[in-house]
């Protein structure tokens, strides 16, 4: 702003604003409207987070979930629900444990040597970590989309048809064609690829490849899709397509999205979870988290006051 001519002022003129703003920022008076869990006050390690971690109709229920890589505790006592047909955004600085937590949900951490998950995670009331559980079956119910689009080096058709085929979801070629078509339609890609279904998927643009990966997850009719920074390798237009797609998909399934873009979390999610140093600090309705964050750390993070 151009410096306006300083008015001749008496009384409250001039300004102490600049020099006092810093001080007054520190003397926040208690508003008394927020419950402070005593465990946070005395600094004991605990899973207590502020906000409302629970929903009435959870698809996932996580209780006291901790993840260790060897001796290192990457996620500490996270308790939260993920609701049916709901978009939950997980935000937080790098290394805060949000991706690690996401990977617990479909047991992606199983493959990492030294990784250990404690606590309970249930999907529709059934224990995800039950030893008798077929992990492949589990992952069929939980789609996953990664930061970098990772289509198979096969045709567009084969990419989408692969899952239904190995899980034997269709009985005839016509059924499979139909499923490929509807999956591509739901992923908003059909009109762009319908004339080139047999060309290599790797020839698509980055945004199209990402939507193809979403179509591929949709083809096995999952209840939940996990998205790990699905837009960070995409341009704004492709990002807008994906966000629009998330809006469409929330009508039929739950989505958990890990994102570094707070604006994206604010745009696409109904609930937001803020992670910090492996702990779930705050979780609540996105409308509330981005207007009235209850925890100082959440406020500092979303308003760009880091460290």
């Amino acid at each position: 702003m151009p410096e306006p001519r300083r008015a001749e002022v008496s009384g409250a003129g001039g300004s102490a604003a600049g020099q006092h703003a810093a001080e007054s920022g520190l003397d926040l008076k208690p508003s008394g409207r927020v419950h402070v869990p005593s465990s946070l006050e005395d600094g004991l390690p605990t899973g207590a987070s502020v906000g409302n971690a629970f929903v009435d109709d959870p698809v996932f229920s996580c209780r006291d979930v901790s993840v260790f890589y060897g001796d290192k505790e990457a996620v500490r006592s996270v308790t939260l629900d993920i609701g049916q047909r709901q978009v939950l955004a997980a935000i937080g600085p790098s290394g805060c444990g949000k991706s690690t937590f996401l990977r617990c949900l479909n047991r992606m951490n199983d493959t990492i040597p030294g990784a250990r998950v404690t606590g309970t995670i249930t999907l529709d009331g059934q224990d995800v970590y039950d030893r008798r559980r077929d992990v492949a079956q589990l992952r069929a119910r939980i789609g996953m989309v990664f930061q970098r689009p990772n289509p198979f080096p096969k045709s567009i058709y084969e990419n989408v048809a692969y899952g239904p085929r190995i899980h034997k979801l269709t009985r005839s070629r016509a059924d499979l064609d139909e499923l490929v078509c509807t999956s591509l339609q739901r992923a908003g890609l059909w009109s762009e690829v319908k004339d080139r279904l047999n060309t290599l998927a790797t020839g698509l643009s980055g945004g199209q490849q990402q939507r193809l990966c979403i179509a591929r997850s949709l083809a096995v009719q999952p209840e939940v899709i996990l998205m790990d920074e699905p837009c960070s390798a995409l341009d704004p237009i492709a990002t807008a397509h994906i966000e629009d797609l998330i809006d469409e998909l929330r009508a039929s399934l739950a989505i958990v999205i890990v994102t570094h873009s707070m604006q994206q979390a604010a745009r696409v999610s109904e609930r937001t979870a803020y992670f910090h140093m492996g702990r779930l600090i705050e979780i609540g309705d996105t409308d509330d988290v981005f207007t009235n964050p209850q925890h100082r750390l959440t406020e500092d993070y979303i308003t760009g006051r880091f460290g």
Binding site: M1, A16, T303, R305
Partner: protein, 226 residues
């Protein structure tokens, strides 16, 4: 409250906005003081100065509106930052309206409607002093983001309202005693009303400040607790 962003230029932009709102407030405060003096002392030169300075207030408003829009567009503020910017935008509108009231008072003098008698002058001077004090106090509160001071402004506006009611009754009594100067009394009533409105704007300013100060997370949940 407004500082501590990792991108320090955001701190700078917010605090510059804050400083300019206070500057605008200083100008408005001076306008109110001068307009009241122009009326009670029947000083046309003083009234002319008030009218001449009015465009400067409007220019402040336009510039601050621009700055706020730019800040929202470029920084996408959320939570306490967003509330602070919205509150400052509202504060600017209050100040602009308070400036308008001062202009109305100055116009009464320039129209040469009728010079108030000593009793009316005294009432106007008293009410003007209360309005100036209230506005100054609310600006001081806004300057240092002091919630307690803002609460005091809100409480003190009731005194000004009561004084306005009493002043108006005295004015009516005098007008009934001597109906020949009813036009003067009518002008005086409008002046008293303007001063009362300036007090309301000061109170609203304090309310906007409280909306910033009550925003944000609970202070007890600070970093050291993790």
């Amino acid at each position: 409250m407004l500082e501590g962003h990792t991108a320090r230029s955001f701190d700078g932009a917010l605090s510059s906005l804050h400083v300019h709102v206070i500057e605008m407030g200083g100008l408005v405060l001076d306008q109110v003081r001068e307009a009241t003096r122009a009326y009670t002392d029947w000083d046309t030169q003083c009234a002319e100065r008030v009218i001449a300075r009015e465009p400067a207030i409007n220019a402040y408003e336009a510039r601050l509106d621009d700055a706020q829009l730019t800040l929202i567009a470029r920084r996408q503020p959320v939570a306490s930052d967003l509330k602070a910017i919205i509150a400052m935008s509202r504060a600017v509108a209050e100040l602009e309206r308070a400036g308008d009231e001062a202009k109305k008072i100055a116009r009464t003098v320039l129209r040469l409607g009728g010079r108030p008698g000593p009793a009316t002058s005294r009432d106007a001077r008293h009410l003007g002093q209360l309005a100036v004090d209230l506005l100054r106090l609310s600006l001081e509160a806004f300057d240092v983001l002091d919630a307690a001071l803002a609460a005091e402004v809100i409480a003190r506006d009731h005194d000004l309202d009561a004084e306005y009611g009493a002043g108006l009754r005295r004015l009516l009594t005098r007008a009934m005693e001597d109906p020949r100067h009813f036009d003067v009394a009518l002008d005086a009533a409008f002046v008293l009303k303007s001063l009362e409105r300036i007090g309301d704007h000061a109170r609203n300013l304090a309310r906007h400040l409280l909306s910033i100060r009550t925003a944000g997370p609970h202070p007890a949940q600070s970093k050291r607790m993790i």
